[in-house]
Symmetry: D3
């Protein structure tokens, strides 16, 4: 079985650093496609990542997204420091500027780099992150912005920013505290930049499945993705929206938002289709969303 | 040993869908009592559930509550869709109405159904949810509103709403993100409506005890409940109130609220009784609350 | 190997209830030093604890802190009730006062006792809590205010306040709900005041390492502490500050704060030192902070 | 012209302390009806007030509510202390109880009395509060829970609780800080329990209209109410819901909630009716809500 | 004196619906430029507005922005309903779609239209809104997203959405509750869609200056703008950022954010320049930002 | 009549920069006492200010506080830039340090200077700020942390920080947005550092009383203070605490906190004394708090 998808999605062919294919009906597969650099991120990739996920968010032919790194070496080695050192947030904004203006430029830069990561979380469709090999630095920032995380047993995770003299600033420190993982454990790996593997990640709840190989990782996740893609997109995407709103707010706010949101959604034809199929033991089909 | 309680509590005899008994001094046992439908919920049950927990909240003879489903088949099969399809939130509010008015009616309906679940969380006494057999859909909404969850090994949990074309709207999406369970795992089971069992639930921290049978489930929980019932009700109920306020707010707000709350509570006679008993190795008694 | 540090830090010699030594370069070791009472807390200790952690917070010679209890019997037996019964929050504020004024005094007292615990969380440096033997009551309040928790296998944890007729009021109820531990489990041990051990604590994520003995506990933690102390203090301390701000707030607020904070911090010389060392495979050194 | 309405609304005839009439099509007029005691509140009135506003909230024949006090002497003299002193929140809950249990009872009592005031704010229809004569204590709590406040020039407002040894606890202190009035002014009148009149109330923005007499007050407000009643109820009631959610939350949360809410509401037939009428210069009619 | 600026800013010449000129050094003047339709908004204008303010936000030649409507008739007549009725949020998303999908489309549309308004608030430079003539509907949404509002005496403001059967959904209901205006007044004008003028707007604090004519409006505001443009851009833009963060959050969060932000900004060369100029009574100059 | 108090309070005699006297029974008068420098603030004053208000907060002989500036020239000229330029937040932290460490030092400095201002807000007793003459920069930060603000007609207010190249960082930007003043007006005076007088301040609600002279200012405020001091201190101080908690949080949180707080406070003897005095037309006396 060939888990790697083979049908390129036309609307995404213009991207140079990402390969977007249709792994199954309604299942998009986004690959970070710079395997010769272990998918390390440069400016172009950040910009393209935002565009890819913004497009997918409203693409009616996509209901769930697999997100992985091309090649055997890893999901991503993180920020491409060499590429960044000229223009990125760790470079000197402009020699000779006063401190305040340099810091101002860095802050703008941080906001600019946070945005593509926010695009993953804001994407209306569930995103399943598939991590293998090297998953360093920015890889963790991306992973924690996804809905679901699977990995291989031999993945090597590392919140590596401390080792380059930085606190992570595009999402790990804002999202990881709320994903249901042990804070004692998380601070240990952040402060020490210690590498950890798939089993440890599963034990603390960072990932929910561990596969024996990249092939298995992709094929298992594809099974899950196809299952999700067979459900009502109104129901699935509403669940993502409501969970993500609620996780950051008091229960009472989550309930109010849910009631307002579902006012329209409960009236969906999908409810009738799903119920009828349940009674008739048939497979429902749902209109595009 | 007969873990199922046998002394009906008089004040609760009028309820038709719930059986409320005194399992031990100060320990109430609330059973969803529609076993012929695997305790599926209809309108009457929602209404009664709110009343039952509102009454228990201020009942001075109750200090802790066991909450289970009658019969061997399960805790609850969730919403009784057949019963609901005429009048419930998934029915058509009123044929011919414009969309806005239909959605308005659905929103009101959602708020109406959220209320009985809120009553569980708002109940001043700790509620221990005991799940066996089928625990589908609304069963999860109720369970996550309880303080403590125990289950049998062979329980079959399912966040089933997606399979009827809906996002859960009476609490699962608002409460589950904050119970200390892995978000990656939780979104997996929500989006796929996958069934999972007791060991998996314990591994991710959704439940804290797994029993081999329903009998064991009840008798083990009764032991815990009796232990809690032997403590100062001021201390136990204050702990519930303070935890529930704090879990939704910044640490600094939790601390301020705790200090204001405890101003009076620390002056309780229970402190003296408990301390004296500690010194004398006797069993303290506490006034009703 | 002698894991217990031997070099007293001069600035901290005036404290009577805490022993502060330098366990390794930039690694402070704070010991609660009242072993004859299993390090039970009295008024003096609360006051000194605030001072110790406030001093450490800005001490340029300290980058990470080990926090343990002196002697073989335990980390701390909690509040010294005997000592407190005259003047503490569980004593009668002033005989004859009206209820409101008594409660007012208790509230002030609670705020006073919360402050030293806040000082641990507010301390700019990571604090690793090392728990062995008895860790009762206030010990849990202190532990959950630390960044990282390690313990021995035979530690005996107990959220003991319920057994003296009180709800915990100096932090456990405000901080524990957000540390990524199972709420079902946490409420079980709080309401019942049940003793639990190291393995259980690790399984639910309360602690992240379990050692076989107190010696191992200290030496393992020292290894971690030395590792953290070798990193950029700007990066490590920024990570603590940003995590702690974010854990209590929506993701979007965390991201804004991070961008503002890192505006200056990314321009640190530490970034250059760290990167250069990474390329040259040397060990970087960092200026004091 | 007789501004006082004369058509009793049948569904509300059972209330003994409130008179509810139809002042104009879709305009309900709620009068506190205990003029012989200057409409002072006792237990019965609090209970009835919750019921009245809960009923009005979903009453399809009502789109806007006038809320005034019967008789010439005033809107309300506040809490009827004589009536309350036996059973109310300022009475002794139960002689001989320990302090904690007494305080517990008072807290429950406060929540019970907050609820009818919340019912005003939660009522889906705009409520216009019409204040004349005496408007003391609880009168302010009610007024600040309404959407719009008008008064006579000779009204005598007083946040009187301080003068009976209490901090206001059913809403003034929680709602007034956010109504756009000067905090310096508000704290002055709260701490001193100073009486102030209509012009002062208008100058600081507490009320938005001042009338020369009670008759004028009612007839002017009726004109406004009839105007509001002629608009789309979907639009008006959505505006109330969205304002009230937003006023307590960050702008970004308000915008998200608004977008979710309006998803259905913008599709209302009312939009077409309103636009068509706008073009044709006719008066639109709207279906009930 | 010709208050209307005459130097077009090259980078903004491509916009068709907005005219952007340099009214004075560092003072940009943005005019809504569709006077023949009283500057009513269509899709193109929303899209361009976002781009204009995003560009201005980082434009080093701009330190303060005047925002007005071209022509004598008004600032803006609001949404161009005729233009919108085919494609906009008030149109039918897609005939034949089920209700949920239509509502989903409307929600996306609302978010799309909120974004250009957010761009005004998010713009790093102060924006002074200058309102004359007709200022209806969306005009209010734009005005409340600006920092400062001035108007002519004869301006006609109207929160007009209710009159087309809608609740305002691009910002008025989320921002107006927090601008320090009387809520009683605001709800009156929202529910009734009543027109109000400049003096009333000033009395309630919605605007802070009223001019006798459009010419005066522009020239007075230009004086203010030139004054602001002469200050340190680091200081001015920091003040906007800190105010806007703080207004939506507790005081303690505002203070923490301010301290983190100012860490770098206080080190600005602008401080030295400003202080030196203060001592020497000279006019300071500041580097671009 | 001599409004300036003449009885020094012994406990406060050690302060060198503040004069604290008893203006009337239970009314403390705090004067900033550096009139030769128009009460400009240096390091010593910040430190003393925290101590003064912390002491007053728990001083049983004080129920309300007048806060003014000594001498005829003004309340305070703000930060003493000359004094600060060596060591303060606007100085260079340490020459030669890298930027991150300098910014770190400035952030610590800002927190240090915010603390004395927080002490005013946190003080349990109402603080009435009396502003005359010069009230520049830090003067505004102090004023907005007080409960009530009065001023003379000829006061000259100025949020002056922008003119020294800074954004205000010890409270103005965090507190002013929520005091019920027009945001349009506030941003105008902040961005322009424009001087404004007493009438303007009253019109926008920043102050609630304007006096013709400093003598009148003090004597009028003393009358108010004596009135407040004659009330139940439990009621007054509870009102401050509940308002300040509520102003920063949703209404529902304010109500919960109020109910918890008042549980004990409603049981105060003050309620009985106040009611009895009300019936008997006598002047109640209240125990110290």
């Amino acid at each position: 079985m060939a888990p790697v998808s083979t049908t390129p999605l036309a609307a995404y062919e213009r991207f140079t650093m990402f390969r977007v294919t249709l792994a199954a009906p309604f299942v998009a597969h986004v690959e970070i496609n710079r395997p010769e650099k272990i998918n390390a991120f440069n400016n172009v990739m950040f910009r393209e990542m935002a565009e890819v996920f913004n497009l997918l968010s409203y693409d009616p032919d996509v209901r769930v997204i697999l997100f992985s790194g091309a090649g055997p070496r890893g999901f991503s080695a993180g920020l491409d420091v060499a590429s960044e050192s000229t223009s990125g947030p760790v470079g000197t904004p402009t020699a000779g500027q006063d401190f305040a203006r340099q810091a101002w430029a860095v802050r703008r830069h941080a906001l600019l780099y946070q945005e593509p990561v926010n695009a993953i979380e804001r994407c209306e469709k569930p995103v399943i992150c598939l991590l293998h090999g090297v998953a360093f630095g920015a890889a963790i920032d991306f992973a924690v912005a996804c809905d679901i995380r699977h990995c291989t047993r031999d993945v090597r995770f590392c919140v590596r920013e401390i080792d380059v003299g930085l606190a992570p600033d595009v999402g790990t420190l804002s999202r990881l505290p709320k994903l249901g993982v042990s804070h004692s454990w998380a601070k240990s790996v952040i402060y020490s930049a210690r590498v950890f593997g798939g089993e440890e990640a599963q034990r603390v709840g960072l990932v929910s499945e561990v596969a024996e190989s990249k092939d298995n990782l992709l094929s298992d996740a594809l099974t899950l993705a196809k299952d999700i893609a067979s459900k009502s997109p109104v129901a699935v995407q509403s669940s993502k929206a409501l969970w993500d709103f609620s996780k950051d707010r008091p229960v009472s706010d989550g309930l109010l938002y849910t009631a307002a949101w579902n006012g329209a959604m409960v009236l969906s034809d999908d409810v009738k289709s799903a119920m009828m199929s349940g009674l008739k033991k048939t497979k429902p089909t749902f209109a595009k969303l």
